[in-house]
Structures are given as structure tokens and as C-alpha cells.
Amino acid sequence: MLSGYWESVITFAGINVLMGLSLYVPMSAGLISLGQAGFMAIGAYLSAYLTKLGVPFPLAMAAGALAAGIVGLIVGAPALRIRGIYIMILTLGFGEIVRVFFLNFTPTGGALGYSGIQPLTEFYWVLTACAIALVAVWRLRHSRMGRAMIAIHEDDLAAEAMGINLMTVKLFAFSFGAVIAGVAGAFYAHQTLYIDAQQFDFARSATTFLYVVLGGPANPLGPVLGAVLVTILPETLRVVQDWRMTFFGGLLVIAAIWRPDGLLKPLHSYR
């Protein structure tokens, strides 16, 4: 059997895979979010609050994911009017607002953090959720919605002229991604058992962005590979002990130079 240590590493890798997929979805419609940690925080805090009240974990998780999805609709609405880098900064602002909110929100601990969460995350459930999310994202690619997302990403004017409602598709992409991040947050809270606002800061959003861009933003397996690498590498780099972030950072720079389009090529180039 796996040692407790590796079980926990795999659990965190799985949570990060979910985060990567949560960003992959809007990114395949050209919407780059630097605020995915905000959706994760909503899923984490709400589900933890509910399980503390005695609500069963799956229900609490569903509620957290739903709330994240609804907030995703709200954040996605202004994203309809702006593009590219503006969306990145808009979502960055959203993530910071969520963080400051939970930092000050006393019902869930405020600045002291939220402790005493029950250990309800089982690593095989995390892996199951990853598998489901991956299949969903994979099937999405071969559905009308997924095609429309790619079309918008590649040429939104032509997409609209071909009958695609930009609003519906963009809102769906944003909100679907937020739901996945909400699920990741619920698992996260019931794994660490203590959450505070700083755990959902910009660094987490930026790391999520890293998973996708490093792994390959045009291949559903890209964020999976990216998340696993980014989670496991610093662990295995324990050989270099205290300097592992330096090694890891250096590897990121090398990867960006060596494979600027991500480690995995776009799906359509494998034929």
C-alpha cells in the first residue's frame, strides 16, 4: 500500500489536476483566468462550513461547486466585453477580492483561519473526480459546445458570423471551469483540515495557470501533466533539499524556452 506521505502527495496532485482542468476549460475558449484560486476558495469555505454543520460531504461539495459556478457566471459576464490580457487582470482582481473577503469574514474564521474541518477527503475519491473531470473535458472537445469554444478562441468574429452566441459559450466556459475549481476547493479543505485566506492567494492562481501553459493549453492532458509535474517535482527534488524551489523555477524557465507551446502538443496534431 501507499505510505501516508505518498497518499497525501497524490491527493494534492489530484486536487491540482482538477485546478488545471478548471482553467483549461475557459482557456480553450480564449478566456485566461488568473483568479481560479478565488473559485477554489469559495468551494473550500462553503463546503467546510456545511460539513461542520453536519451536511454530508458530497452534498457540501456540490453546494460549494454550485456556488463557485454561480460566481463564475457573475465574473464571466464582464469578460464578455473585454479580451485577452484584460481578462487576465480582471480575474486577478476577482481572486484578490475573494481572498480579502475571506480574510475578513468572521463566520469562517477571518484572519485566524478556519480550523477543525473533518478529514473527509479520500484520495481515491479525488482520483475518481479527476477521471470524471477529464472525461467530461475530453467529451466536451467533441461536442458542439467544445467546438464553439475553440472557434471563439481562434476567431470570435467568424464564430459569431457562423451563428455562435458568444455570450452563452463564454459564460458556460467560465462557469464550468469555476465548478471544477469549487470541487477542488472542497477536497482541499477536507484534506488540509485548516484553511485560511492566504492559501488562496495570487500565487495559487498563477500556479494553476502554470499547470495549463506548461503542460499544453490545447490538449486536455496538458493540464494533467502540468499539475502532476508541478506537484511531484518539488517533492522528488528533495535531493537538492533546501534549494528545490530554485531548481524548480529554473526548470520552468528551461521548459518555457524549450517548449514554448507547452509540453504536450495540441490534440489535433496527434493524428
Partner: protein, 254 residues
């Protein structure tokens, strides 16, 4: 015969530049209607307004008697007006059949049905869209290459693919913006045949074209724009002898 599309007193201003001044055009159902004029005459602007990509500064535009001024491009397509682009705008990351399937989206029902079909493993709407796409691909003569990416096609075939994508939406009016650009004479002949076939299948065609020989060969009716105004309108035989048209084209003719 009644007009399928009526553009009435359309003006379009870009800053201080008046691209279209009080332009009126009527397109009869079942016609191949050509829109010609020298460079900068406002053809593409009018085209963008008809397809909902641009909004006129003044004037109204109606399809089958229904005013649709100011509607978004996707709503205009759903109404039955489809277009191609002068500078080909395909989706480079989607395969050829997927590009055409994008055109089918408008006819695939509601979002709720979409989500339900997504849960089922073999969604029927998806299969139907694929069948329809293959049919249209055959029609324009791109069969056998459905799994390729648009970038692997010649420019001429990319233009055919764009026409297929537009046809897949099942339009009543097809807008073609310079489809013959970059084609050699034998390819223009094929295009001539294709446009006639499209018309014969019951689709009205509005053709913006520089290629005068093609226009005069296929068009049932010709509207001539110059400097943002309509200077002539009528059957090709009359247009060819029109003084104003000949003057407008001096120095710009083929």
C-alpha cells in the same frame, strides 16, 4: 416577385469618412445578385451590414419583410443569412468536418438539448450535424479530406470550405465576398458552376466580386456601387452598357 432582402437608405460613417451614403438594394428570392464597384466603393461595408457584423449609422434592413437592423451576427445567421469572408477566416485548430459542423450549430436546437445530448454517449444531434456536414462537403467537392486541418488545403479549397461552412447553416440567402479571388480560369469556371448549383438548390446568392467576367456570366441582376452610392442597378446586359458604370470603372477595370 417580392424581395427577399431590402436594404433601405443605408448609411455608414467611420469617423469623418462616409463609407455608404443612402444606399438602397433589393434582392429578389431565387436570384444570383451581384454587387460590384471599384475598390473602396463600400461593397464589403454593405456586406458586413447585411450579415450583422456591422451596424449601419442610418437606414433599415429587412429580411422576408422583417426588420433586423442592429441584430447580432449570430442572430442574423439563425434567420437564414450566411456568409463567407473575403480574407478566409476558418478555424485553424478544427478539422475540415468540424469547421463545417460549426455551421450546423445554428440548427442544432437549444442549449438544454445540447447538455442532455452531452450526457448521452452517442448524441443524435451530433450525428445528424456530422451527416449534414459531410453532405455539404461533398457538394463543394472536398470529400476525402474531412480529417485534415484547414491549413493543409490550398487557398482555393479553403474558399470552398468557407462556402461549405456557410451552406451547412441552411441559409436562404448566401453572401459571397469575392469568392473568386486568387483563382485561375478553370477554378473560376468550377466556382461559376457551384454558384449556379447553390442557386438551383433554392438559395438566393448575393455575390460581391471583382471578377467581371464571372459576374456577367452568372448574375441575374447587378448593383453597382461607387464611392458609397448606388450608381446603377439592373440586369447584366444593361449594366455593361451603362455610361455611369463605364466612367466609374475607368482606370480600375479588368
Amino acid at each position: 416577385m417580392t424581395a427577399l432582402l431590402v436594404a433601405d437608405a443605408i448609411s455608414k460613417r467611420f469617423g469623418g469618412y462616409l463609407a455608404l451614403a443612402d444606399v438602397g438594394v433589393q434582392i429578389r428570392a431565387g436570384d444570383i445578385h451581384a454587387l460590384i464597384g471599384p475598390n473602396g466603393a463600400g461593397k464589403t461595408t454593405l456586406f458586413n451590414i447585411i450579415s450583422g457584423v456591422a451596424v449601419p449609422t442610418a437606414g433599415r434592413i429587412a429580411f422576408q419583410g422583417q426588420d433586423y437592423t442592429g441584430r447580432r451576427a449570430d442572430q442574423v445567421l439563425a434567420m437564414g443569412v450566411a456568409r463567407n469572408f473575403q480574407h478566409v477566416r476558418l478555424f485553424p485548430g478544427l478539422s475540415i468536418v468540424e469547421n463545417v459542423m460549426i455551421g450546423c450549430h445554428a440548427r442544432m436546437g437549444s442549449l438544454l438539448q445540447e447538455l442532455l445530448s452531452y450526457v448521452r454517449l452517442e448524441p443524435r444531434a451530433e450525428r445528424d450535424a456530422r451527416d449534414r456536414a459531410l453532405e455539404v462537403i461533398n457538394f463543394v467537392g472536398l470529400q476525402g479530406r474531412i480529417a485534415m486541418l484547414p491549413g493543409e488545403l490550398t487557398l482555393v479549397d479553403q474558399r470552398r470550405l468557407e462556402i461549405a461552412r456557410a451552406l451547412a447553416s441552411g441559409p436562404q440567402l448566401l453572401l459571397l465576398d469575392e469568392p473568386a479571388a486568387g483563382m485561375n480560369p478553370s477554378e473560376v469556371n468550377q466556382l461559376d458552376t457551384l454558384i449556379r448549383q447553390i442557386r438551383d438548390s433554392g438559395i438566393t446568392v448575393l455575390l460581391v466580386e471583382h471578377h467581371t467576367r464571372l459576374v456577367m456570366a452568372v448574375a441575374d441582376r447587378v448593383t453597382v456601387l461607387s464611392a458609397g452610392r448606388v450608381i446603377a442597378d439592373g440586369p447584366p446586359s444593361i449594366i455593361q452598357r451603362d455610361e455611369a458604370v463605364i466612367t466609374a470603372y475607368l482606370g480600375d477595370s479588368q
